[in-house]
Subunit: 397 residues, 4 copies
């Protein structure tokens, strides 16, 4: 049983609480901190939390508390983490870890120095679909991974602080790109070094300073490419899709708008449908169980099991730091209009990988370029002469 202090009572804090105390969970929130008393009380009442406070440190220091869940605006993560270090409480922190890599690095170093358990709450690498897909990838079902794309777009976040560059640290790259980057990185291999980033970003629609639409490519040391597509200007709901290409296969995940649940209604009687849905009549695409589909359940299970077993979680502050470093490079690239290196002062994965060459021998003279069935049922091969480089075509009986 984990005894949790929740810092923050907003949209994400409540979502977390629904998961933490949902189903037949043995875990319990024992303290809630919110900047606003009214909000803290309401949360305490709704989730039957015995202790509430408007002083962050009081929640962290509460002796019943074993683990602190940081669900605050981005600009408050570091202060919260410092308190956990001071009071030697395990800490799990919502995404992105920092507003930039410098902030994230300080947090990582602080928790490691304090010797406390730390988890990075990147829920989208804990969705059931992602977990099963990753398992297939790791078992080799897709061969060597060439490209992994993750897309998260919707009509914009729920709370005002997201839209304020100072509090949030950025726009949709930071808010949504952090998910996408970690998804792609996981498929490609978390021990493969991200080396450089190319990113386009723009403020196309919203009256804000930060970007509301961005697309980026992350090149890894082994030649694989991660891609993110993020926006706060998408119309139609929450678009959450991943795609992976490998030498032996393909994966397509749709985590929200097309999951096998289609509803048409003329509009009488329907209420809240799904996170970020845009209407309540016509064809709607609800998700059965958002908490599970968005990965919250499996994420907290991993966090608390790891904590109880004295192991590291799948996602730690180190991962949060790597993601921030990649996003920093993305922001730089959007400004410089060229590929920018990922600055990783801390790197714990492989070094010196190079692009794998896969020239498949056909026979002594030729490489195999392609094999296919023709319309007429014959087998055809396209071959490349190893010496001359000439390409030829050969139809087999």
């Amino acid at each position: 049983m984990a005894k949790i202090a929740m810092l923050g009572s907003g949209f994400i804090g409540r979502f977390y609480a629904d998961s933490l105390q949902g189903q037949r969970s043995r875990d319990k929130i024992v303290s809630i901190y919110s900047r606003r008393e009214e909000s803290a009380k309401k949360f305490a009442e709704d989730y039957k939390v015995t202790h509430w406070t408007t002083t962050m440190e009081e929640a962290v220091a509460n002796p019943e508390v074993e683990v602190v869940c940081v669900s605050l605006p981005n600009n408050l993560h570091e202060a919260a983490v410092e308190l956990c270090c001071k009071h030697k409480k395990a800490v799990i922190c919502t995404k992105p870890l920092g507003r930039n890599a410098a902030e994230a690095k300080r947090m990582l170093e602080a928790v490691e120095k304090a010797g406390i358990f730390h988890g990075y709450l990147e829920d989208l690498v804990y969705t059931p679909k992602f977990l099963k897909a990753l398992e297939s990838v790791q078992q080799g079902a897709l061969g060597r991974i060439l490209w992994a794309k993750s897309r998260e777009t919707h009509p914009g976040p729920h709370s005002e602080w997201f839209w304020d560059k100072e509090q949030a640290g950025g726009g949709c790259i930071l808010d949504l790109g952090c998910h996408c980057v970690e998804i792609a990185r996981s498929f490609i291999g978390k021990d493969v070094k991200p080396v450089e980033v190319m990113c386009w970003a723009d403020t196309q629609v919203k009256p804000i300073d930060a970007e509301d639409h961005a697309i980026g490519l992350v090149k890894y040391e082994n030649g694989a490419i991660g891609q993110f597509e993020v926006s706060w200007t998408f119309r139609g709901g929450l678009d959450l899709r991943d795609e992976v290409m490998g030498t032996e296969g393909t994966i397509w995940l749709n985590s929200f708008l097309r999951t096998g649940f289609d509803m048409f209604t003329t509009g009488k009687g329907a209420d809240y449908v799904a996170e970020k849905a845009e209407s309540n009549s016509g064809w709607l695409f609800p998700v059965g169980d958002e908490l599970n589909e968005l990965g919250y359940n499996h994420m907290f299970t991993d966090m608390f099991n790891a904590m109880e077993d004295g192991k590291a979680a799948r996602e730690t502050f180190y991962d949060g730091y790597v993601v921030n470093a990649i996003l920093d490079a993305a922001y730089k690239s959007a400004a410089s209009k060229q590929w920018e290196p990922v600055q990783l002062e801390i790197w714990r994965g492989k070094e010196g990988l190079s692009k794998e060459k896969t020239q498949q021998d056909y026979d002594e003279q030729y490489y195999l370029v392609k094999e296919e069935m023709t319309h007429f049922g014959a087998k055809k091969v396209i071959l490349k002469d190893k010496k001359t480089g000439q390409i030829i075509e050969k139809t087999l009986a």
Copy 2:
């Protein structure tokens, strides 16, 4: 915390155990009974169950046990339930409740007489998609329900006893139809009386005595129609789909083969993909989290929460009995080739409902038949004269 005796260590018992002790569950299996010692021991080891036995009563009587989970072949349900009554242990029983309504009725009467908690483990009315769809239906998003269809087909069950008519009590109607009937009944309203059934059944492919393919219609007192399509001869995996039509809307659920997870693999490295998948190369359609998607998690949550709160579960032995009564009528109809009445000696819902008439007035003279937009952007109405019955068409400016 629920302390459970599991009766049966086969495919379904293990699936249940994965859910019961999965995620951060506070519940625990404390005793396992299996007919075969080897199987009991293996289960005990895999799920860290402290007590195992090959004597059913020993598991039920075990003083630590609060609730008994019956995961046995159909022909053993009644004996297990009797033991629970004798030892006054709460009981939850897998589907179908009985091999027929007579058996189910005896079980229902026994648990009620014994005053013990009883739950009917019909997981497919606990899938996240179903629960959210049902909520929408109950809120009126679809208006009056006209028709609800549920389809479950696959290439056949895993264990030998399903294929033996004596042990199973029937073929795919009993095995799969029980799910479909309860799904449709739930959408239409569990307090609306099922009155008659028309069913076609045949043994089209398998060398067995029972049916391997059947289609049935269940007529409810208010004129709504439930439909089931079941088969053990389907090729391509586990097809699990529901459809609902109402006067104001439509719902389509796909619970297995098309849930937003598409994978192509040439076949190197992939292993077990999903329950009842038929291959491990080409395009595959895994499910992210079978336990959750198939409703096990929400089902056990409902069961144990209800038990702890001293309330009835959403699905009780009464529901199991109603389902068996409907399936009995289906078997009769398949033989008699006509609609057969549902024999319900126990009925606790509404009585005397009649078909709702919905003649929508257009004006004093006409009923509205239909309203539509033409290709040319004009609005057109089709009207019926209230007196003469004549149908006319009118284009509005």
Copy 3:
């Protein structure tokens, strides 16, 4: 080049004309007949038809006309066909052929007696998807066909006469069931005799005399089952889906609402989207090319190529007659509440087929019931003793 007289200038006549004179077609409508002068003139203008008339015989008798396309309400088909016989003009007639089998039989006998070319305009067995699916079925990709279902439901037809039982001859069974029955029959084999029908029909919503919702099963001599689901009460657009199950495979066709075209719009600027769409904002599912997707192009190509080659079309009045005979049995069954025989006074297919038995030998002692991979990667077989009938399970190394 085919020179056509079009009888009828309504919704279907215009749809046909769009196809007949569409793309780079060499065919031409040379005469248009409509009951209403205004409508005839408008059609003539829109489609550049040189001759228009309000006298049916004038169009048929027009010397330039080679082939007459009957696009009239159901109650006028027979009279139109009689005129074609009289003037020895080839005739192609929209669906259903007659209001009942008696009418259809008279038309069939008349055209055969007159020795004129006749085609039955059942467009939905000419959709590109259907044609390719049928080809796969005929090549054996699905093995022996067990079941073929076709579903057509929408919010009701466009013109007033459909809603009038006298003119239309019935409700949605006749209007939509004719499509579904011919689709299923084609997959099962047009030479396999339909023997009996079970049908439920009701008027659940609309203020009309005819049925607005029906479901039927058609049993064929070889044990295969055709199923139709038809309704004028569906909400959400035009639902057009087919499913086929065979011993070796499965086919699912979605011809309208989910064809790979998804559009979300807040509603500014969108107009007519697709036949029978219900709204013009939110998520919409247009079809790229309705004429082609609904089969019109391939249908007319087959008709005119056959006519020019002196061959029979794929769909003739004989097929229309068989369909009407099946629908007659459906109406009877809806009233009698039991399976009703299909009365086929004319039958030109196979006779005396019986249900195929497929007991697959495993070895000398056993039949194979099922073979599968277990979770643990082992191969398991379920076997039936040929003599005792006992079912056993065997795990292979």
Copy 4:
């Protein structure tokens, strides 16, 4: 009626011929040129072409020929076009127009100087889905277009010359990117100037010199972004998808792998399924009518109608030139690793567009950032102070 000389008898030439002479077409191929006599003869026989030759000029000069269809490898387009200019024959040329913009420009200038009709055979902007989507976009259903992505990936082309950089002029960027670029450009507006391109390209799998995988972004003068994703390394068939985002809506097109046609087969009896499918068992996704779905029919209809009407086709050599100029910039960017300007010596669209600003007033003090429904059914607005830039959140009753 168009009388056509076909230059090239390979895969694409035959595909074109199937469309040109398909259905009830009035058009006719009257001469076929192929480098290989055997191939020319076979084509002539299959398509009933009266004249065949192995001399290109003979086909072009053939007096019966009105229009020449160039279906040759990329390196032969220019020579073929020159012959058409010389003999004053209308010319339609397959994609890409040139191997680079210089080649394309020479062809454009040549046909304009010769005063002959010229069409650019970019079939994918003629698919029925694309045409309907474009119409919706042009009617404003999506508001202002922000981003248009087109993706074409498959396991590699059919003929050897594609794999030879000299003949083809490049790899998948040229082969597939030409489609994607024109699709995105069409959605954004063909009169909006493409200004710069950022592209990543690599040879990840194939033993070739050209790129087998690339991703590019094309920035347009009004701030809109076109995106292409192309590869010859994709596993699973032909992936052909477009996505468009506008301020008021979204479009998703899937033109090949998910079009509402799903087939599972154990593999007995199935043959050729679809262009570039990778297997013939398991779950397969055929396309109903490839010719129509890939746009060939509507493309040739537009070409010949335009030619007969003395108008320009929707796609002319000018469009082919613009596409080549964009692809040139893509190749440059892949090498230079920065955004590269699109060099357009000929530009006939708008000049001087700037990014549209859309600050929506909420009231005098605030801009509206976002409006949404909360979980609790209340309406919430996020606002930005026009002067201070402060973001606030306000819940409305």
